[in-house]
Amino acid sequence: MKNRNRNVAVIGAGMSKFSSHREEVNQPEMIHEAVVEALEDAHLTMDDIDCVLHGNMELFEMVHQPDMWHVLGTGAWGKPGIRLTTGGTTGATLACAADNIVASGLHDVVLAIGFEKLQEGHTTGGITNMADPLWGRSLQTGALTGTAAQKLIDQFGEERAKYAAMKLRTIMDENAMRNKKAHRRLGLDRRYIKEAADNSPPLVGELRMIHMCSQSDGTCAVIFASEDKVAQFNANPAWVVDHETVHREETIVFNPGKSTQRVAAERLFARNGITDPRREIDVFEMYDPSAWWGLDWLGDFMLCDGDEHLSMVENDDITMEGTIPVNPSGGVQASNPIGATALVRVAEAAMQVRGTAGGHQVPRPVRRALASGFGGTLWTVLMLLSKEKPQP
């Protein structure tokens, strides 16, 4: 574990309903939904909040410094706050920042808010605009990337790889069907895994529309509190054990080496004495922007060798009832309001630890949960939560 000035826990989480079109609410109104739910979950009022963190990707909605307007929904009037943005990882960065700020002693109770209303902009155009205007923009295809599919097909053969990716997609949908907040709840049927993929329109190579995450509107709000406040509020805590951020330089083609997913996992686990994540972690909420990426990164995050990650999917290890449930929420393939998405992973992981996930609570005790964020040029943020308070 890293040095920690004082312990910090998640004591409340809220989300708006996720949907392709939240046309009945404007941006601050949609933020307000999640903030109210988080406060109710923590049995607090806005008066208890010391600091408000805000993040999204502003070129999607084309609102400059949106935390200004959003004060109407975030409740930050008269309060301290900071806006942090790191692309897709924004929500996870907000969680790390909330942990840091509470741990620093600067504030006792911090509300982190991730937000996106993708309906109000052009998502693929917005993402394409992240590439260097001179060197990469003409090649960028938004977030639609076929390389993970090709890599897995090369590694494990077309039939096995395609089946495993679509089975993972189907498991995610089974989970989403139990989460009433999820955007896409398709009712995919395990009897037609092969057909569901084959009949879906191809986007890039074997990345098909069914494999890809949704484009959603939504907000997530998570409340972090100091150890003293946890006691004072008699709160139900999910303790933050540690977090790790790993970025990489943008010119990927010149950039061989380990994935940021594996590097982040190795560092986080080594610092916290985890040698077998598949046994020592009870739930994993992964930012899985497509079934192919989800399948590939499962191997990296869980430190798999060879084809172990495909076996995990084939053997139902990652289902709600499996040995290491992945995305009981349905994950990012079900709901992806980008600036909120990585914070949703932290919120969902905390809900599993706190036992507040309702219809998608995994059916066994959760002592330890892991959440991942993905963004930028294949960046990773990991946060580890636990039922037990970390001991210095």
């Binding site: 943005t85 943008e250 930028g376």
Partner: protein, 391 residues
């Protein structure tokens, strides 16, 4: 507060570097501007990237000013974040100082690089960008941008304080005087009051000369924990007070002539730094004066003079007596995104006694201010102190 840890951990700024601020740094890309200042703080401290050295980066930039989604993605390599941590604060750089200090005070990092950049020259119009900060239903359709909001703020403040246009012009003349002594300042040509008052009117009462000029530049700092700071430098500058605060959004809900968010931000920073009387507490003060009228208005909010006393404060030579903006301030040219960060940089230089001809004597404690959003909707206040021993 009861739950404060008994001995709050401290963070120190151990090195700063700024590019020269210029109206158009067309010779160099954003990454090049950053490398100049990052290379400088690495040389000043002897630190390398990696374990035992610079562990992580906090950056400051803005997607709209950079016209680039995830503007920090463009700088991963120069800030040393390849396979390391980088987190971007998308607001005035004083907010970046606040957050970078928090990451160190939390115990998570010992040494952090803080790096901010902005090239305002790339935008056809800064107003075009800041116009997009307004909600699409009520305030955007009437054409608000940060300049128009500053003009509304100036009208309200001038009406309440009675400050004259000549007094504001003299502030511009004064800014140019100090800017000539600051090697990184952009606008150094001497101006007379008449020349300032002859500048075209942009948004009544704001003349072109009353507004911070279009500016390009970058700033880097090394922020470290108490233990590591002493190893890195003999002249650490301690971050002893941090405060910030949001005002509401709609102009009609705000007292534009007042200082609600700044007063709260200052209260928080002063409480942390154990400052009772801000009128006498500081040897150096740096205020983010994007517009001339904001210097006396924010001086009121910071408690350098009483509420409503900004006009008297100017007439009585307050800026000179309290060593305000010896850098030249924003009026001499910093990008909006770096306004507060440049104030912190100047405060550090003053506290280290390295300010040359503009050095304030015996500078031990400094106040640095930053503002983000329309008419300073988000205010940031930072107290910095010198001394080999942590205060």
């Amino acid at each position: 507060m009861a739950s404060r840890v008994p001995s709050p951990p401290r963070a120190a700024i151990c090195a700063v570097a700024q590019t020269k601020f210029e109206a158009n740094k067309w010779r160099v890309r954003m990454q090049g501007m950053l490398w100049e200042v990052i290379d400088s703080v690495r040389r000043q401290t002897g630190l390398a990237f990696g374990d035992g050295g610079i562990e992580a980066a906090v950056t400051v930039s803005d997607d709209l000013f950079d016209a680039r989604t995830i503007s920090d993605g463009a700088v991963t390599d120069v800030v040393g974040a390849h396979y390391r941590s980088e987190e971007k604060v998308a607001a005035d750089g004083a907010q970046g100082v606040y957050y970078a200090a928090a990451t160190v005070m939390s115990g998570h990092h010992d040494i952090v690089l803080l790096a901010g950049h902005c090239k305002e020259s790339q935008a056809a119009s800064r107003n075009m960008i800041t116009h997009l900060a307004f909600d699409p239903f009520y305030t955007r359709p009437v054409g608000l941008d940060y300049l128009a909001m500053a003009a509304l703020q100036a009208q309200a403040y001038i009406a309440r304080s009675g400050i004259t246009e000549s007094q504001l012009a003299d502030l511009v003349v004064r800014a140019r005087h100090w800017a000539r002594l600051n090697p990184v300042a952009q606008e150094t040509a001497a101006l007379t009051r008449d020349q300032v008052l002859a500048a075209p009117m942009l948004a009544d009462p704001i003349r072109e000369s009353f507004m911070y000029p279009v500016s390009d530049g970058a700033i880097a700092m090394i922020i470290a924990s108490e233990k590591r700071a002493r190893e890195i430098t003999g002249k650490p500058v301690w971050v002893t007070g941090l405060g910030n605060c949001y005002d509401s959004f709609f102009p009609g809900e705000r007292d534009l002539a007042g200082n609600f968010p700044l007063e709260r931000a200052a209260q928080r920073a002063y409480a942390m730094a154990r400052i009772d009387d801000p009128k006498t507490a500081f040897d150096v003060v740096e205020i983010a004066d994007s517009y001339a009228h904001q210097l006396p208005q924010y001086a009121e909010g910071l408690g350098l003079c009483g509420p409503g006393q900004g006009g008297k404060w100017l007439a009585g030579g307050g800026p000179d007596k309290q060593n305000v903006n010896r850098s030249g301030g924003m009026l001499a040219g910093n990008p909006l995104m770096l306004g507060g960060m440049a104030r912190v940089a100047e405060a550090v230089i003053q506290l280290r006694g390295e300010a040359g001809g503009r050095q304030a004597p015996d500078a031990k404690r400094a106040l640095a201010h930053g503002a983000t959003g329309p008419a300073g909707q988000l205010q940031t206040v930072i107290v910095l102190e010198s001394g080999g021993d942590a205060p």
